[in-house]
Symmetry: C2
Subunit: 299 residues, 2 copies
């Protein structure tokens, strides 16, 4: 039947599990991080945030991302993305051969200062310097705007303010912009307000802190958004609330989208094999589809 919503024919999923997910777990051996990335590629994922270039003292689980990139090597058709917190991280990531960079700035001034010791203006200036470095290497940059749907400090963040930051990120040289619901405060109404301001040419990075990640992704989809971050097993978020606060699960998104006729490029049975590998490595997963499987037995 024809659906009563206008949905895109296909979407681009970026699995951030090996970075946003694993960073809250005890460090895994590099070979296991590589197996996980490979399992995601085998399932059909074409962009994976494989790690970050942050201080290994601050985030031990992300130590060795340069070695991980070397272990994986370039993979035709696959983008191995790395998160970088600053210019030094960007130089390291580019030297290690990352195919794309993500850099975070915040829509919330207080969140920015509390978490990065930088004002938003300083953060944007840094984004510009990182974009200059990346451009010289021919590497695209995606600026992830945190707290785009609300801030734990200020509460509401005006969509016009989010729009201003997104435009500034593009002006600074970002090829892409992603709006992140860092603390799970978004609802479809908030998604609509930001998309109305920023346009549907954004990525959405959504958390399940309040169980609304998937419905927010759906809301974005019906408004024309075609890029979504997700995390194998739904891991991520706070290490103190595993199962509660992670990213939108890749399994849920693929199950939902494929059943609604939206192509993800991902095969659910192969994805569930990746889920089982992840569960062996980190323990029980928040993803309900990882537990229940797809609509029919075996998928």
């Amino acid at each position: 039947m024809t659906l009563p919503w206008t949905l895109p024919a296909a979407v681009e999923l970026r699995d951030v599990g090996p970075r946003d997910g694993l960073q809250v777990h005890p460090p895994l051996p590099l070979v296991d991080r590589a197996r996980l990335v490979t399992a995601l590629i085998d399932a059909g994922l074409r962009e994976i945030e494989v790690g970050s270039f942050v201080s290994p003292r601050a985030v031990p689980a992300m130590a060795g991302t340069a070695e991980l990139l070397a272990l994986l090597g370039p993979i035709p058709g696959v983008t191995r993305t790395a998160l970088v917190p600053n210019e030094r991280g960007a130089r390291d990531a580019l030297a290690a051969g990352a195919d794309a960079l993500t850099v975070t700035i915040s829509a919330s001034e207080r969140y920015s200062v509390a978490n990065t010791k930088m004002t938003r203006a300083d953060g944007l200036a840094q984004v510009e310097r990182i974009c200059t470095l990346a451009q010289a290497a021919g590497t695209p940059v995606d600026v992830v705007v945190s707290c785009a749907f609300g801030s734990p400090y200020e509460g509401d963040v005006a969509p016009a303010e989010v729009g201003r930051i997104c435009a500034a990120a593009r002006d600074a040289g970002a090829q892409r912009v992603t709006c992140a619901d860092t603390t799970g405060m978004a609802t479809p109404a908030r998604i609509a307000a930001v998309v109305a301001e920023v346009g549907s040419e954004i990525g959405l990075h959504l958390h399940e802190t309040r169980g609304t990640g998937l419905v927010n992704a759906w809301a974005g989809l019906t408004l024309g958004v075609t890029r979504f971050d997700c995390s194998l097993g739904g891991i991520g978020g706070s290490p103190f609330a595993v199962g509660a606060a992670g990213n939108v699960a890749t399994e849920e998104l693929v199950f939902l989208l494929e059943d609604c006729g939206v192509a993800t490029g991902v095969e659910l049975p192969a994805l569930l094999r990746a889920s089982r590998l992840l569960a062996e490595l980190v323990g029980e997963l928040p993803s309900a589809v990882a537990r229940a499987g797809g609509r029919s037995a075996g998928a």
Copy 2:
């Protein structure tokens, strides 16, 4: 801002936690079941499925529902609903003063036979007899159609078939019909297909088996559905997968709807007090909002 979806101004929520939720937990003292119902009423819920009149040997947690109704007494403005599996249960529920009855039939022939030892035709004939009993008592009946979005036996269930069963239930005397996603196989596309066939004058009873309960509720909402079952804490489903397969959490639904300007009549802070009581009684809850709270601190 004006939202890009047409949403109803208000919805009717029926909390089925004291029945569909508690039935999978070890039996609670009647006084605790009553405290829970009272906490839900204090939060603003106006219809609550307080229990069922099934064999106490089959479902020990639901023993004493007649006594529970007596303990609660009639409550102005509140509908204390009871699930009945057969005419004997209906007689008992009516004698105990239940304000409304729910009766389940299945859209899946094999599920019907496996779970109730009755064909769908037998189930419908029984619904007709229960409606006759209820009508004599002036008590409304809601027929809940299980497997309306898929069956663990046959897989797909044709929406036209669901439409036929819903029409037959209405012909049998049901005041209301609710379509249930018994094993969590629905997606927005399946919701749209059933609503197109049956109309939006149905209730939706949705499970989180595959994490899609809330997004399915949202999909129904954008198609004009205004009645939703939900369960405090998201409890329910299989006792062997607590946290994975329960009903849509009342907390998530209220958080989402109220933030999108849809009136539920429920106050989230009071609802979270009910959540805390439930957690004291049954342990950790699946609901993410029960853990994280509302958008702002304290709500």
